[in-house]
């Protein structure tokens, strides 16, 4: 008898699935030749990447520990005392202080107390709504447009349109559409629901979410459309015989079998929403009353309106750390699963 892992390995190898065999091949010892080839293949990218992305990022990282005068290009370390130590982490301390509980969480409710935390709250709220809805929405649209309907191409293009419009244009357009006298209220007025959606702090973030969804669903749709092609028909048939109807099939077959797509989509969506910026700025410049100030908008303002580039960098790296930890964790889980194949 072969051990279970062996037989699994060989059974998948026979199935010819490359995903798995690649995952299973991690242990092979790289050779000199492979090292050279790998090096040559990645070198163009590594050069461009290091020079134009990694380098600047590291530079910004250094700046995040400085009070930097952007006009003169000079800076001095942002010294501060933390737990009795003198460290150049002034920008970081500055952003995070006071911690929200030190003002009875008020900074999460009103931007008047501490804008950073308020922006964090906005971002989290935005992400919490937009990411899942965007994913599910993209999934549903893909599901609908995957089936045998006429004019698929046009429908797909319609849903993909937002991706093609520039952020500036769509921000402005949406502001118009959602304004007191906009098209939306034209429909709502007769039922007495007309409201300044874009101009009220109560609804502006909601409106921004709407725009986020509008923009994201089309992109996710494309990714999901692709993922859907890979689900074996037999699974649907098995489910049909098992008595699963339409919705059950989606729940038990379609959805779980899009795991890889989900991963890709989720990572992109989270990164995308944490970076929601262009549209937010064009839509309401972070207002009204800071209602649409997300962390990235705040970073922008800090950098370019208040010219505190060091502080802005600190914010960005704090944000980065959070997103990275999250993504890395997901990636690890994903990897484990892949290896367990």
């Amino acid at each position: 008898m072969s051990t279970p892992t062996e037989s699994i390995r060989s059974s998948f190898r026979r199935a010819g699935s490359a995903v798995r065999s690649v995952a299973g091949r991690v242990v092979d010892r790289p050779t000199e030749e492979n090292n050279l080839a790998g090096f040559l293949f990645v070198i163009p990218n590594v050069v461009v990447f290091s020079v134009f992305l990694l380098g600047p990022i590291l530079y910004a990282f250094v700046l995040s520990f400085q009070e930097w005068n952007l006009f003169l290009g000079t800076g001095k370390p942002a010294w501060t005392e933390v737990f009795g130590l003198r460290l150049p982490v002034g920008n970081y301390v500055e952003i995070l202080q006071p911690l929200p509980w030190e003002n009875n969480w008020a900074s999460l409710r009103s931007p008047s107390f501490n804008l950073w935390w308020f922006a964090v709250r906005n971002t989290v709220a935005y992400t919490a709504v937009v990411v899942p809805v965007q994913i599910i929405g993209g999934f549903l649209v893909a599901l609908a447009l995957d089936s045998r309907i006429r004019g698929k191409k046009v429908y797909r293009a319609a849903y993909f349109l937002p991706v093609m419009l520039s952020a500036a244009a769509s921000g402005v357009i949406w502001r118009w559409i959602l304004s007191q006298n906009g098209v939306v209220n034209e429909f709502l007025r007769p039922v007495g629901l007309a409201y300044g959606w874009a101009n009220s702090p109560n609804t502006a973030l909601g409106a921004l979410m709407l725009i986020g969804l509008w923009g994201g669903i089309g992109f996710n749709m494309i990714l999901y459309l692709a993922g859907l092609q890979n689900i074996p028909d037999e699974l649907y048939e098995a489910a049909r015989i098992d008595g699963a109807d339409g919705l059950d099939r989606i729940r038990h077959v379609t959805w779980p079998n899009l795991r890889n797509t989900h991963f890709f989509v989720t990572v992109l969506a989270i990164i995308g929403t944490f970076q929601v910026f262009g549209i937010a700025l064009a839509f309401a410049e972070g207002g009204p009353a800071r209602a649409t100030t997300t962390v990235v908008v705040l970073i922008y303002e800090t950098a370019f309106v208040k010219s505190s580039f060091g502080r802005a960098s600190a914010m960005a790296f704090f944000l980065f750390a959070v997103v990275f930890v999250f993504s890395y964790y997901r990636y690890r889980i994903e990897q484990q699963d892949e290896v367990a194949y």
């Binding site: 037989s7 026979r14 048939e237 098995a238 008595g243 367990a340």
Partner: protein, 398 residues
Amino acid sequence: MARTTLDGVTKRFGDDIVAVDDLSLEIRDGEFLVLVGPSGCGKSTTLRTIAGLETVSEGEIRIDGRDVTDVKPKDRDIAMVFQNYALYPQKTVSGNMRFGLEMTTDLDDEEITRRVEEAAELLDITELLDRRPRALSGGQQQRVALGRAIVRNPAVFLMDEPLSNLDAKLRTQMRTELQELHGELEATTVYVTHDQTEAMTMGDRIAVLESGQLQQVGTPMEMYYEPANEFVATFIGSPSMNTLDATFDGEHLQLPGYTYELTEAQREALSADLGGDSVTLGVRPEDVVLADEPGPRTTEFVASIVEPMGSENVLHLRHEMGEIVATVSGGQRVREGDRVRVSLPVDHVHAFDGETGEAVFNRTRTEETAPGVVGTSTRSDGDTLADGAGETNTGDRP
């Protein structure tokens, strides 16, 4: 009761492709029917119409007397085992097995768990219940797929080449397990395969399809000894039956360089049933006799290839009239290039109408009790060896 009846079932894809062509077939309650035929002959399609995964274009399907032609798969009281298992990758083994019950019945959790565990025990996969399919070997996945079908306790099992993805050893083992299972459950089973051994050993009856049309249905021995036509004759049995083109001159069969003498009965059958005068003479490799002595039905062949297989040697014999294959015991030596005297025993040959392929006469079926049989064990609970009790619904044998 789960008699399953196909009544004039036709399945067309588009306008041109007729995958199943006016198929009528009755599968008896508790029967294990094996569906065989060359690739693309419509085996899977037939199974899928029974399952309700495809609509039928014409005809009617009845399970247990009930017309299920327009009934959804889940309401047909069937379960299906797919060639590539089609297990839900995200569910554990027990999740896979429960699913059907959860969807179609109101059983409470406990009852479902009980049933799943019972089935798992039967299939010896109890320790695997919490694993996910990808952590299972092919054979284990196979058993889970079976378990998923079993727990539902359906009236009819449908299996589409369930063993074809397994390697030889595992396949043999699973085959035995499946047979035992069928013995225990006694559910009506329709089983598609392209494996000779499976077809011969597993089925109560075998149905042979070609180009969507039913060629013959009968017990394995019937199919073997009394094929309805040349197609069935060459399809069943491995190595295939040898066929030689001959002409019937009213007396003998004339082959190039060889005159084959017939018995009285054979002559009569040929005279009565033959359309033209061309006949295909068939003889199975194991019936080809290497004759010590020249005789009326012997002639000389040259061994072109000899394949020693250990237990037997397969000889490829060449002659003016064509090439035939003969199997001889592994202990008997023939060298490539040897001239061999071969006899085609008159009681072991088949004749088919050279034009229609219909069987004109088949070999006589002699069966004798094997030597060494000294009695019947009282422990026996097995069926008798299938002995022609089945019916054939096609083929007009003499």
